[in-house]
């Protein structure tokens, strides 16, 4: 068995029914697999299908085992390992609330513009910005904005898609 760990992005098409997320998450925790990021949402409201994106890591054997176990779940229609495709994109979304009461924040607007983030809300005390990007870009944004007073932030799990013709079948 090879021992090198690698990160994998799994895209899973499931029936959007009660408990389906618990089945997937329970499988991971019950068998001791790792979930680094998770995002779920309905993508086909006619056929009640949800798409789950799980970022996990492990040796080749563990990743193969995870895929086989997930595929065995009855509500799972399809699973693709996006990381194994030629090329793909992966994006996260972040919302960040910044305190702007102090005068030192005068150049904050310039900063936000440079980064390419959007301002969603502002009043005399706070602004909320929105930014989407790769996990690395998001992490670097958080680091940069630390010079200001971050009141709170929230970031989504990764959503991902293959580039080119590849796609997950329903």
């Amino acid at each position: 068995m090879t021992d090198s760990h690698s990160k994998h992005i799994l895209s899973i098409m499931v029936d959007n029914e009660p408990g389906v997320l618990a089945r997937i998450v329970g499988l991971f925790s019950g068998r001791g697999y790792n979930i680094e990021s998770l995002s779920v949402s309905e993508v086909d409201s006619d056929r009640f299908l949800s798409r789950v994106t799980v970022v996990t890591s492990g040796t080749k054997n563990i990743i193969d085992q995870i895929k086989a176990q997930v595929r065995k779940l009855i509500p799972v229609h399809n699973l693709i390992d996006i990381t194994e495709l030629k090329s793909f994109i992966g994006k996260e979304l972040i919302l960040m609330k910044l305190d702007i009461k102090q005068k030192t924040v005068l150049n904050i607007y310039k900063h936000i513009k440079n980064i390419g983030a959007k301002i969603l809300f502002e009043d005399k005390t706070v602004i909320i910005i929105e930014f989407s990007g790769t996990p690395t870009e998001i992490s670097s944004l958080i680091k940069k904005m630390k010079v200001y007073n971050i009141v709170e932030l929230t970031r989504s799990g990764l959503v991902s898609m293959a580039l080119g013709k590849d796609y997950i079948r329903r």
């Binding site: 408990g19 618990a22 089945r23 019950g30 054997n61 086989a68 595929r71 065995k72 009855i74």
Partner: protein, 586 residues
């Protein structure tokens, strides 16, 4: 016009459509409407157990001895939670079971209502799938898909949780044929031909092959056993079977070299260790089979035939995977061999057989018999000798007696051996024997038990009495939790912490109090008479076979060791200390 039926009635109608003849259950508040419908019909027989765990084991015994789906009916809350051990057992041993549980009415769910338990949440990891039926329109579909899922692919338990209000609501039910989308689950059953070609190529080239056969062959059906028997004959290869696989092909066959694994035979384990080609058919490289994985059959090419893709490369990496229904894989293999006129030269493997026969000559199951005290092995040898001609169905509890039964009994037909392999559930054997006996009322059914295990579901004597089930309970009574004691002797400095069975009941009187016959034997010379009498008695019997309290089960591969590091008897000492890695293994 189709009449509207209540949910409870639909449950019964759907079970009838699934050809269910027997269900094992226990009533309670949340399933009263279903029990009411049961009362009004006579197509389905209900067996009232005395504990819900036993209902599942009985359904398992029924399922494993017939190949049909076993059905359980229990109430909400404690009724449902009591099934968890049984469902987990069925999950681990791939037994098709459908468990229907009552639930508090939908509007009460989540309110901590009386006898409410989130059984769908609780059983999610121990069922193949489960349903909470929240709408009457989904009821029939859920039940039919439960049966479909339980028996297709790798079999397993499915639970259907039905709130009480759903049982009383009404809707139209037109039968299984008209129930939409219950059969969406379609596991891969047909292998690709090129893997078959590769497989046969490996078979041809091997000089030291071994068939490693598991319970999957039995689950695949009688045709799989037949094809495997044929393949064994054509190739002349040796064959070992797992605890779950015993009887897949006759164990009296000369090519059968014994069970493998922790308490397997010397020849089977060494053949696994030294082979150059291992053909795993419907088994899963369980830790009881492999021992220390890094030293498991280091030089062999490995082929794995299974319907369940998640069994591939799970603990042991294999060279060729063939996914599909075993009877289809074996049938295609035989056809290919026939079409290509491939013949297997016995010369190719003659040196291998000479080696195996040398290992066989060690006579590893030998034990020192006694004239004054009954050795458990002797008791089972006599049981085998005196009952073999009747093709008995054997169930067991869990422990030393179970391993000795696996070693010393003959299994010439599939579906005649029911034991808790994966989960190792003490208390499995008695209720499982009830299920077997219900399915085969005229046949001899024997529960080989230990005095500790039997007490875990002893309340089922009452069920046995009620339905006049002539189950024979063969207790090897050594006054210890024998396997626990054996490990304590071997690994924990002989400190026998809590493994002595004090204050045992008088099993003869216990039998009599339930209207059964109780027999006791102390001397080896009386063993045969006891067994003969036991068979002759028409009703249930408890045999209290008082055996040597000190006997241990050999051969044994201590945990964390490899197949070539076996202990063959009480005089074999562990080489050095058991590694820390081995100590933490179960």
């Amino acid at each position: 016009m189709i009449k509207k039926l209540s949910g409870a009635r639909i449950v019964i109608e759907a079970l009838i459509q699934e050809n269910v003849k027997v269900i094992f259950g226990y009533p309670g508040g949340a399933v009263l409407p279903i029990y009411d419908e049961l009362f009004k019909q006579n197509k389905i027989r209900h067996i009232l157990v005395r504990h819900e765990q036993a209902a599942v084991h009985a359904a398992e015994g029924y399922a494993r001895s017939t190949g049909k789906v076993g059905v359980v009916l229990v109430t909400s809350g404690p009724g449902a939670t009591n099934t968890v051990t049984g469902l987990t057992d069925a999950m681990m041993d791939s037994v098709p079971v459908v468990c229907i549980s009552g639930q508090v009415p939908t509007h009460m769910i989540g309110n901590d209502a009386f006898q409410e338990a989130d059984i769908v949440g609780i059983t999610r990891p121990c069922t193949k799938h489960n349903y909470l039926v929240k709408e009457i329109s989904k009821l029939a579909e859920s039940i039919h898909s439960a049966f479909h899922i339980a028996k297709n692919g790798r079999p397993g338990p499915v639970l259907v949780d039905i709130p009480k209000d759903i049982q009383t609501f009404e809707t139209k039910y037109r039968g299984k044929k008209y129930t939409k989308s219950f059969a969406f689950y379609k596991p891969k059953t047909k292998p690709s031909l090129d893997t078959i070609v590769k497989f046969v190529n490996l078979l041809e080239k091997s000089k030291k092959p071994i068939f490693y056969v598991g319970g999957g062959v039995i689950n695949s059906g009688s045709r799989a056993s037949l094809y495997l028997k044929k393949l064994l004959k054509i190739t002349g290869f040796p064959c070992t079977q797992t605890l779950m696989g015993l009887g897949a092909t006759p164990t009296s066959d000369d090519q059968f070299i014994g069970m493998l694994g922790m308490h397997g035979t010397y020849e089977a384990n060494l053949s696994m260790n030294k082979s150059d080609l291992m053909i795993c058919i419907g088994a899963r490289f369980d830790d009881r089979i492999t021992g220390k994985v890094s030293g498991f059959s280091p030089k062999s090419k490995k082929v794995h035939l299974d319907i369940d893709a998640s069994s591939f490369n799970k603990s042991v990496n294999v060279d060729l995977l063939i996914q599909g229904d075993l009877s289809k894989i074996l049938e295609m293999t035989l056809k290919y061999i026939e079409n290509k006129r491939i013949s297997f030269s016995k010369e190719n493997i003659s040196a291998w057989w000479i080696q195996i026969n040398k290992w066989r000559a060690k006579n590893c199951l030998n034990y020192k018999n006694s004239r004054s005290i009954i050795k458990p092995q002797y008791a089972l040898q006599r049981l085998d000798f005196l009952t073999k001609h009747l093709d008995p169905f054997i169930t067991t509890e869990v422990g030393q007696h179970q391993m000795w039964a696996a070693q010393f009994l003959t299994f010439n037909k599939p579906r005649h051996w029911m034991t808790s392999g994966g989960l190792g559930t003490m208390g499995y054997g008695l209720p499982a024997a009830m299920g077997v006996q219900i399915a085969h009322p005229k046949d001899l059914v024997i529960d080989v038990a230990g005095e500790a295990s039997i007490l875990m579901n002893i309340q089922e004597m009452s069920t046995i009495k009620q339905y006049r089930l002539p189950v024979k309970i063969f207790i090897l009574n050594n006054h210890y939790m024998g396997m626990v004691r054996q490990w304590q002797e071997l690994l924990h400095g002989n400190r026998l912490s809590e493994s002595y069975m004090d204050s045992l009941p008088d099993f003869v009187k216990l039998a009599e109090s339930f209207g059964a016959t109780g027999l006791r034997v102390n001397k080896p010379g009386e063993m045969d008479d006891l067994i003969t009498e036991m068979i002759k008695i028409k009703g249930p019997v408890i045999c209290d076979v008082v055996v040597d309290p000190k006997e241990n089960c050999f051969p044994m591969i201590p945990s964390g060791s490899t197949h070539d590091q076996m202990l063959l008897g009480p005089n074999d000492k562990l080489e050095g200390e058991i590694s820390e890695e081995g100590m933490v293994l179960v």
